[in-house]
């Protein structure tokens, strides 16, 4: 029987966040997954006990959401968006290249437990297509060769930076961020890139700006 005492304090903190304790089930699943590498039956029991739910009620939630994994993900989770836009812009080829490099398919892990590959759905980064994620951190604008280079660098244990986010840690660390979002990494990397600034840049070049309020039209004066 695994001992979960080391998580008790964090579990209490999560439960205390919500007006009703049952709302804590999702962050608790993220926390347990961070600790165990997957959502295990033991983890489900611990959550059920803490929230005074049945294991069936917790399992129902765990099995509904694709980010909760029932089998050990291993060190790094690799996602490749193969929804329409990314797929046609090259995501299918990126996926094929990685699958070949890892000798793993969708929802499969490598034999050494280093990588878990998943075809992911739209990652809300279509402007940065084709999009890959490593432990859910953005690796934007990939080509098949750049994606394989990322995998190789991770395999060597090299420092790999997300294109819009921090240095890649591992799957467990990201899952911990899901449970405790203020992880101290918000200032790492350069998350606002040229693509996010595309319109602002063009507006600057063309001397375009939004009209400013005349001081009398301000809501402040109208309503104070």
């Amino acid at each position: 029987m695994t001992n979960f005492d080391h998580l008790a304090e964090q579990m209490d903190q999560i439960v205390a966040r919500y007006p009703k304790s049952r709302s804590a089930v999702m962050p608790l699943l993220h926390l347990l997954q961070s600790d165990q590498g997957a959502v295990t039956m033991e983890g489900i029991s611990v959550i059920a006990d803490r929230l005074e739910l049945t294991t069936a009620e917790v399992t129902a939630v765990a099995s509904f959401y694709t980010m909760y994994k029932r089998r050990d993900v291993g060190r790094h989770h690799i996602g490749v968006c193969t929804n329409t836009l990314c797929a046609v812009l090259g995501g299918d080829a990126v996926y094929d290249a990685i699958a070949q490099r890892l000798s793993a398919g969708h929802n499969e892990s490598t034999a050494d437990g280093q990588f878990h590959l998943e075809r992911i759905e739209c990652q809300a980064a279509c402007t940065h297509a084709p999009v890959m994620t490593v432990d859910w951190e953005f690796m934007d604008n990939q080509t098949p060769s750049s994606a394989v280079e990322v995998i190789d660098a991770l395999a060597r244990g090299d420092r790999v930076e997300s294109t819009r986010g921090p240095v890649i840690r591992d799957f467990a660390a990201t899952e911990h961020t899901m449970a405790f979002p203020d992880d101290g990494l918000a200032g790492e990397g350069t998350p606002v890139d040229a693509i996010m600034l595309a319109g602002l840049t063009v507006a600057g070049e063309l001397n375009m700006s939004a009209p400013k309020p005349s001081s009398s039209a301000q809501g402040k004066e109208d309503h104070s």
Partner: protein, 439 residues
């Protein structure tokens, strides 16, 4: 029409995501103004701007707020829908990454207006960078007294929770989101009752999109008249458009509602070399596609409906002549099949059947009569499920077959990858492909 960076105006400042950086741009000034106002006056002001929800449905925001019963002795909740997962939608995540404090300030003002003492920002789990930046903004706002107990001596208390999702598109549907937040499977509820009456924990709840709430500080600072000089009578305001696909400079472009796709394309550098618009989708895969014939239609809620589609999330995906429409639609349907929560039979079974039949076409094994069968399946799903996911799944095919029937006919005998070489659609060169092959 010119570009008008409002929400995006200071995105090039590297410290904008911090409290100090945001305050240097005038941040949290609106909060102090709002706290001195009568909450009902804030609701009226938002109503008067005509601001419409930026999550896709376009419901008037102030009106939604006014549905929350006041003086009912029940707790009220504000829930921000930050579950941006619609294929093509990619504007809320950039807002949260670049300017999280504007969202948080909007949350505080909106909560004050509807008398909510708890607010939740429900962010899809797959975007930790957005989650951690919003979480930092909440912590900083708390430390500065913009949040918490008796905010700036106003007597108003507010706690904001940042909640990470876990990978379910359906949780972008407001009632499914609420079930998810309560600790259940994220499945939609039958409406009515609407969340404004019985939402989170059966208490009055406003669910608003990230971009909608981010508009609020500017509305408070600059007033109704200023806001309404952007856009049209029925679609007032500015919009964070995200242009993706075969354009030279994909990215975020903020402009008044009413700008046309042709103008946006122009700002985005036009189509890539040797490329022309084949079809484009104005606001996520759940709205019908358009063609080059529609490039001059204003991007407003009303004009898009008149053109037979919807503005949706206002995040146009542009595809050129190298793309198979059969493949595009098949991939979208695979998405809806995967994301259907399974609650309603028409959606659960319908997405399964449509995807199966479309796969036959993709493989060049389609049958002519199935073109009508697919339309019939879509009709059987449309309007017959609890939520809009079913309707969304029934949308791409009818629009596509109406515009590109010949392509589906070709797919009765020739696999789409033969008719449309996938490599020609890639945004990287063939060299990048052969390099991998050489390894």
């Amino acid at each position: 029409m010119t570009l008008t960076p409002v929400i995006t105006e200071f995105w090039d400042r590297p410290d904008l995501y911090t409290l100090a950086g945001y305050e240097r741009t005038g941040g949290y000034r609106a909060l102090r103004t709002a706290l001195a106002m009568d909450p009902d006056a804030i609701i009226s002001q938002v109503k008067d701007t005509g601001l419409r929800g930026r999550g896709g449905a376009g419901f008037p925001t102030g009106l939604k707020w006014s549905f929350v019963p006041q003086g009912d002795d029940k707790p009220h909740y504000l829930v921000v829908n930050a579950d941006e997962s619609e294929p093509g939608a990619c504007k809320d995540v950039p807002i949260m990454i670049a300017n999280p404090h504007a969202l948080v300030e909007g949350v505080i003002i909106s909560s004050f207006a509807i008398r909510a003492s708890h607010a939740v920002i429900y962010i899809r789990g797959e975007v930790p960078e957005a989650i951690r930046r919003v979480a930092l903004a909440v912590s900083e706002a708390e430390a500065a007294g913009h949040l918490g107990h008796n905010i700036h001596g106003s007597g108003f208390d507010l706690k904001v929770i940042v909640h990470s999702g876990a990978g379910a598109y359906i949780c972008g549907e407001e009632t499914a989101l609420l079930d998810s937040l309560e600790g259940y499977r994220g499945q939609p509820r039958l409406k009515p009752p609407f969340p404004a009456v019985a939402g989170l924990y059966s208490a009055p709840t406003v669910v608003n999109n990230v971009e909608t709430i981010t508009n609020i500080p500017w509305i408070i600072n600059n007033g109704v008249e200023w806001f309404r000089q952007f856009g049209t009578e029925k679609s007032p305001g500015f919009k964070v458009f995200a242009v993706s696909g075969h354009v030279r400079r994909p990215g975020i472009y903020e402009a008044p509602l009413g700008i046309t796709m042709r103008e946006l394309l122009d700002y985005a550098g036009g189509m890539r070399d040797g490329s022309e618009v084949k079809f484009w989708v104005p606001g996520g895969s759940s709205v019908p596609m358009l063609t080059a014939d529609h490039l001059d239609v204003p991007l407003t809620y009303e004009a898009m409906v008149e053109a037979g589609t919807m503005l949706g999330t206002g995040t146009p995906m542009v595809f050129d002549q190298t793309v198979s429409v059969v493949k595009a639609v098949t991939r979208w349907l695979e998405f809806y099949k995967h994301e259907s929560c399974g609650k309603c039979t028409p959606c659960r079974e319908g997405t399964f059947w449509i995807t199966g039949v479309l796969k036959q076409f993709e493989n060049g094994e389609g049958n002519d009569p199935d073109l009508d069968l697919l339309n019939e399946l879509c009709e059987q799903i449309m309007g017959r499920s609890f939520c809009a996911l079913g309707d969304a799944a029934a949308t791409p095919y009818p629009a596509a077959v109406k515009l590109f029937r010949d392509e589906f006919i070709t797919a009765t005998h020739t696999p789409v990858d033969q008719t449309f070489d996938p490599a020609r659609s890639f945004v990287f060169s063939e060299t990048a492909l052969s390099e991998v092959g050489a390894r």
